[in-house]
């Protein structure tokens, strides 16, 4: 009988980890629906970026208030996880505070004390975050794309953290032995008076309930990640590692186009030659759906935590245009999820559902054409997401596959084609400026 809690714990842990592993598998499968792009170069620079930007949060602190509180929550999250290790081992082995005899009372108390301080700081920080979202109503949390789910998702995570931190402190406060030893109860000692009428057995019961809810909460949270903007706590690392290292103004040259242009410009090429047998389906230019994007762009979509810093600096959005870089990322993720579910429902192959990422269901042409390609969104993203690359791929699709550019741009391109300038001037007049003082 005495092993029943251990067995229940092992089963819960197993189920929690199993579902999480399944979600990770699905996540990787979906990201791999993207096209190949080589980001295996410049390894040392990539590691440095990841350490500086993801681990070191260097871009977060560009906005000092949210940056500071975010670091508190982040550091708290990582360090308090050491305690989770003890909780998991205690649960499996049926021990209580396994590390106490190993580490000695002094050092163990020091660690628990540190966790308690972090826990209360995390609690305060997430309260500040909640106030920023719901009371101060900072504009970027209230843009159009912040519909019910994105808004709730943001708040749920904050409630989750508040509850977890509270449970952790209550668990310590009702641990009579810990309180009597007087080390490590830096914060929890102030909660003890709340329970002064409770019997010893009562305290033990509350301690056990807090302990179980705390670890179950963590397992639930782990499995909530996949459905939430909170995936960034994992994906920020690969996302910064695989981010573009080239100058932001350099847009990749489409290799398929290069082949065709070279053929056109080659005086020896036979214009009537039949295409090679193995040529296959001609490659589609640009992107109209998630599978036309590359895997880094798809990973970007899962990494986005919808903070809206990109949108808050976007010149198009600031002047009331339809475009929001955050919405581009959110829609990409929504569509990718839809494609993933479609594949799951159809035994591993995608069945055409008549929808595309670019179209009335998701990203509209109006958004794509409002972009000034200024790179403000890319510069601003704390985890190096690149919404601009998706916009540019979609423009390529609209122009080269659909001939659907705005009329004035068609005129501009016609001029470039005919007279080598975006305006209708003769190339022979290119030097007129010399004599026009």
């Amino acid at each position: 009988m005495q092993f029943i809690p251990n067995i229940i714990f092992a089963i819960l842990l197993g189920v929690g980890v199993y579902f999480f592993a399944n979600n990770v598998k699905k996540l990787i499968r979906n990201i791999k629906l993207g096209k190949d792009v080589d980001r295996s170069d410049q390894k040392s620079e990539r590691w440095a970026n990841m350490i500086r930007i993801a681990l070191g949060q260097s871009k977060m602190v560009k906005r000092p208030v949210s940056g500071f509180f975010h670091i508190v929550v982040y550091v708290g999250f990582i360090i308090i996880n050491i305690e989770v290790l003890e909780i998991v081992l205690d649960g499996l082995l049926g021990t209580h505070r396994l590390f106490l005899p190993i580490l000695g009372e002094g050092f163990y108390g020091f660690l628990i004390g540190t966790f308690e301080i972090l826990a209360i700081l995390v609690f305060i920080s997430v309260t500040v975050f909640w106030l920023r979202r719901n009371v101060i109503k900072i504009k970027r949390f209230w843009n159009k794309e912040m519909t019910a789910w994105p808004k709730n998702d943001g708040n749920y995570i904050l409630y989750f953290e508040m509850v977890l931190m509270t449970l952790f402190l209550v668990m310590n406060a009702t641990d009579v032995h810990l309180q009597q030893s007087g080390t490590g109860n830096v914060i929890s000692q102030f909660i003890v008076p709340l329970f002064h009428n409770v019997s010893f057995e009562g305290l033990h019961l509350i301690e056990r309930i807090a302990w179980w809810l705390h670890i179950c909460g963590i397992l639930v949270f782990l499995n909530y990640l996949y459905y939430s903007k909170h995936l960034h706590i994992l994906l920020a690392f690969p996302n910064t590692f695989y981010a573009n290292l080239k100058p932001k103004g350099q847009f990749p040259n489409n290799k398929n186009v290069t082949k065709e242009v070279q053929l056109m410009m080659d005086p020896n090429a036979d214009p009537y030659a039949a295409p090679a047998e193995d040529a296959g389906e001609p490659e589609k230019f640009g992107a109209s759906d998630v599978t036309d994007l590359n895997w880094v762009q798809l990973m970007n979509a899962y990494t986005c935590t919808e903070c809206g810093r990109c949108t808050s600096v976007c010149p198009a959005n600031l002047t009331g245009k339809e475009l929001s870089p955050r919405a581009i990322m959110m829609k990409t993720r929504d569509r990718l999820e839809e494609v993933g579910r479609n594949i799951d429902a159809n035994k591993g192959t995608f069945q055409d559902d008549g929808k595309q990422l670019l179209g009335d269901d998701y990203i509209k042409q109006e958004e794509i054409w409002a972009c000034t390609s200024c790179n403000a969104c890319v510069e601003e993203c704390p985890v190096n997401i690149d919404p601009l690359s998706i916009i540019m791929d979609m423009r390529q699709y609209l122009v080269m596959e659909q001939s659907a550019a705005p009329q004035e741009l068609n005129a501009m391109m016609q001029n470039v084609e005919n007279n080598g300038a975006p305006w209708q001037y003769s190339q022979m007049d290119r030097l007129n400026w010399v004599n026009e003082e």
Partner: protein
């Protein structure tokens, strides 16, 4: 009088210039931008730079086509331009247009055009460092200048300092930064081919908002380093009915004026 050697003429004489001045379509055809082109040439002449232009052999860099999504047209333009420049054995290029600068520097190399490319502010800064241009006695009857970072020079290529150091080199002027500047700068609204179309529907125009940023610094002059930014900011100043008090100038124009050229 300005002296503008043309590549084909030099080639016929068996000569090669040290650097090609890529004028760009705006610099060649836009009336306002042509003034910037001439101002920059005055500085090149003053510093005795051995340069040349392609003249009628220059064609659109393809930047606008590429940002509009026409990769095909861009690569045609690029390869044609590369063919011409490689024939003339071009090694170094300077341009007063950040859009040409960006595409020539970053997007031409893997199409076969490998050159050392400078924005005109970078090149002028070099001339100053080499002692070929001297602004220590230069003076302008201007108090406050604010500088608008072109996206394709700033964020796109991380060049924020060259333009600023040149402004500071002119005696008597005071560089006042806008609230949004350097990598936080706000676009003028012309990039990504927006120059050639009406904006999408919205509450206001981007250049109007950006000009507001500039007006907050109480400038006498709004300086830029891009012909498109110049147009947008000039329109913005007119929109705010400040054209009588505030001028929009390219850094090359300010420098040429400060030397009385």
């Amino acid at each position: 009088m300005i002296t503008v050697p043309v590549m084909a003429d030099l080639f016929a004489e068996g000569k090669e210039p040290d650097i090609l001045f890529w004028v760009g379509s705006a610099g060649s055809f836009d009336d306002r931008a042509k003034k910037i082109t001439r101002a920059f040439v005055k500085l090149l002449n003053k510093a005795n730079v051995n340069f040349a232009v392609l003249g009628t052999e220059e064609s659109s860099s393809g930047d606008a086509a590429k940002r509009a999504g026409n990769e095909f047209l861009f690569q045609m333009q690029a390869m044609t331009n590369i063919e011409v420049m490689n024939m003339y054995n071009v090694k170094k290029i300077v341009t007063a247009c950040p859009h040409s600068f960006n595409t020539l520097k970053n997007e031409y190399p893997d199409l076969g055009g490998k050159y050392e490319v400078f924005h005109h502010t970078q090149f002028i800064e070099q001339l100053v460092n080499e002692g070929k241009l001297d602004f220590s006695n230069a003076n302008l009857d201007i108090n406050n200048i604010t500088y608008h970072d072109p996206c394709y020079l700033g964020r796109a290529n991380d060049e924020y300092d060259a333009p600023r150091s040149l402004i500071k080199a002119i005696g008597g002027v005071n560089l006042v930064e806008m609230k949004r500047s350097r990598n936080n700068s706000l676009c003028c609204g012309a990039g990504g081919s927006q120059m050639f179309k009406e904006p999408e529907k919205g509450e206001r125009d981007i250049n109007d908002l950006r000009t507001e940023d500039a007006l907050e610094t109480k400038p006498d002059v709004i300086a830029t380093g891009c012909p498109f930014c110049n147009t947008m900011m000039t329109d913005g100043v007119k929109h705010h009915k400040k054209e009588a008090e505030i001028q929009v100038k390219d850094i090359a124009e300010l420098l040429a004026e400060s030397l009385g050229l």
